[in-house]
């Protein structure tokens, strides 16, 4: 029981003793003898749940039911049923959605890893500003719309708190997709990458922002775009070559959307970096450089069969080196990679 001020003292009084709730008979859980893993609920929680089951059973729509759902959620934010009930109440009571979003924000600061609150936010935001209404205005106007601005702020804070919060980044994808906020997203991604070049959630978001909802199987990256991404990646590899994220990102991006540029453009840039005195040691020691070479050579050999023999030989040597020296823990994978070279 949290008694913070005189207004909330009333909430600490058991529901059974509140005049407002006299008409309701709580529905108890059947905790027959010999239940497995029975939870020793506090009296408060047990009572809240008993009343919740009772009002849900009759489909009550009321302010008192709404207040009850808030209390239950504060005790157990993972209670997905009560979130569904609350959503319905907010709709039917025509509650102030902005206030509801404020309340959800409070909850999320206490429970950042909860699934349900993000899902709840989605439904509130689309009600507050229907995506179809957002289509008639420019992205700049959309971003400054109070509804979206608040969401972006909220997301910024959540990601600030935990830079890799899976739910936050996932919700961000929903928001950006639904309201077409692609340009600002690329800026946000860049900020996050510069904050921590090893933040893989940010690099994944970069791919997402560049694809901008296009069907991946239908996207061919224009040469200019591919080149600028390669430059971007190389600049960030320079900061710390032994970092999976930029390497996975650029090989993945090019493999899918501009495969020939793996060897026409990426290859010379990374070879140049590996030859540069300032980076040579780091590049030689990181498995990611060698792994990228394998990906590149494989594509090159597939596109230019006349070079295949030479490239396969070089690739075999790389696999051996990775398996025996540079990346021993993954030796079984590198041995597999080596055997599959002959079958490409």
């Amino acid at each position: 029981m949290r008694i913070e001020d005189s207004e909330q003292v009333e909430e600490a009084v058991p529901l059974a003793q509140q005049a407002e709730w006299q008409d309701i008979t709580p529905i108890e859980q059947d905790e027959g003898e010999g239940s497995m893993c029975p939870i020793a609920y506090t009296d408060e929680y047990r009572e809240l749940m008993g009343y919740l089951r009772a009002v849900m059973a009759v489909g009550e729509v009321s302010e008192r039911a709404l207040a009850l759902t808030a209390r239950v959620i504060e005790e157990n934010p993972g209670h997905y049923t009560v979130w569904v009930y609350r959503k319905r109440l907010v709709e039917e009571l025509e509650s102030d959605i902005a206030k509801e979003l404020d309340w959800v924000s409070e909850i999320s600061s206490k429970f950042p890893k909860n699934y349900q609150l993000w899902h709840h936010r989605e439904s509130l935001v689309t009600r507050l500003w229907a995506p179809s209404n957002a289509q008639g205005v420019t992205e700049d106007q959309r971003v400054t719309n109070p509804v979206l601005r608040r969401e972006l702020q909220f997301l910024g804070a959540a990601i600030d708190e935990d830079s890799k919060n899976f739910h936050a980044w996932s919700y961000r994808q929903w928001l950006v997709s639904t309201y077409a906020l692609w340009t600002q997203e690329l800026v946000f991604v860049d900020t996050m990458i510069n904050q921590d070049v090893r933040n893989n959630s940010a690099w994944n978001q970069r791919y997402f922002a560049i694809l901008a909802n296009r069907d991946p199987s239908a996207v061919h990256l224009e040469a200019d775009m591919a080149k600028s991404e390669i430059e971007y990646v190389v600049e960030h590899i320079k900061l710390a070559p032994n970092n999976d994220s930029p390497w996975s990102y650029v090989t993945g991006l090019l493999l899918r959307h501009a495969p020939s540029m793996l060897y026409t453009d990426l290859l010379p840039r990374i070879k140049q970096l590996a030859a540069d005195n300032a980076y040579q040691a780091a590049m030689t020691l990181t498995p990611f450089y060698w792994s990228a070479l394998l990906d590149i050579y494989e594509q090159q050999a597939a596109d230019h069969p006349d070079t295949k023999k030479q490239l396969v030989e070089e690739s075999r040597a790389i696999c051996d080196q990775l398996a025996s020296e540079t990346d021993i823990i993954h030796c079984r994978y590198w041995n597999f990679r080596k055997t599959s070279l002959d079958t490409c």
Partner: protein, 429 residues
Amino acid sequence: MSYLFSYDYRYDDNAYDTETSNKQVDVEDSIGQIYVKYVEPGTAQYGGIFDNTMLRLHRTKHEQFVRDAMHGLSSGFAVLDASQPWLSFWSLNSLDIMGRTIDSTTRTQALQTVRRFQDQRGGFCGGQGQLPHLAGTYASVMALVLVGGDDAFASINRERMYEWLMTMKREDGAFAVHEDGEVDVRGVYCVLVVASLLNIMTAELVSGVAEFVARCQTCEGGLGPYPGVEAHGGYTLCGLAALEIIGSTHVLDLKRLARWMSARQMAFEGGFSGRTNKLVDGCYSYWVGGAFSILQRALSRTPQDDMLYERRALQRYVLACCQDMRIGGLRDKPGKSADLYHTMYGLLGLSLAQHYVGVDPQTRITDTTSVYSVPARMMQWDVVTSAADVVGVSSNVVKPVHPVYGVSLVPLAKCIKYFYALPPLAPSL
């Protein structure tokens, strides 16, 4: 095996630290302090000889931890009030994997408890008076598989279950996890596991599933919960296992997947992380370890071919770092407390690393159109004893498990036998 421990395998941050690298270094420090105790003094710096005989699975402690939980949980567990089926499943499965008896009292207790979660309209809920949920359904059904027996199986209403599953089906082929709930590949996994076990697979149910899962593969190679979202170990297992059930693992770029999966094994710790540039966690021993077993089959590899990860290093991580000697049970990593979830998944991962459970590529069934091909293909998974590799004292060995279903093979077989003796809802998929 000395090369598997060395300070040389520590993370190289290229003298440029960020939050990610600092966290990684901290974890390696704490794990290094543990590992060094197993290494011959004076040899650690350049490749120490790890004394595996010191690695012991403390079954009795873990059994006590689980039985205490089965007996009752403190009020703080109210936060899992909507995950009650999981509590039973995590407990029962942990005991079963460790080869502990589920006696008739426990059996009755479990059956009575889980029965109460079934919804009249179909499916199982996170608790009484809650909405049915795909995860709660999955956990309930798996708990009943472990309970076993015709009474347990007969308690599941197959027809209602199928109707409810279809109400969760969405246009893109995926499923919402509950009415008005989120849609992701977890839901797909739960549906396919349950439907394949209860013999309620139909073409309608599985339509679009393979396409949806394929779209969840990211440019890194792993799978996320939903198209576009970051590749993650848990969702990768869910997607891959779902595809394996319907015989469609080929829709994925398996080579790119293999690359990402391999990178999940941490060079110094030996355990798996769930995402790129994130920390090791004992639960991924199953999510990623199980995915490796399925990948082995998808690539048509044989028991003579190695698994594509270092099985011994993974076992070392679980045994040396994930056992909570204070309260029993297994945990994420040193410094974290044990819990039922990490206990079960740690044990599952240990099992999959100790045993080789696979499908002989020579004799594998490839038909995917008959409803009966599903159990036939699932039951082809078998233990290849010659490929076992148990680290530490021989008594560390636990029961082999099926990588797709995450339970041991005998209860699974009995469940399949029961349900496939009943008429299917449709003859073909």
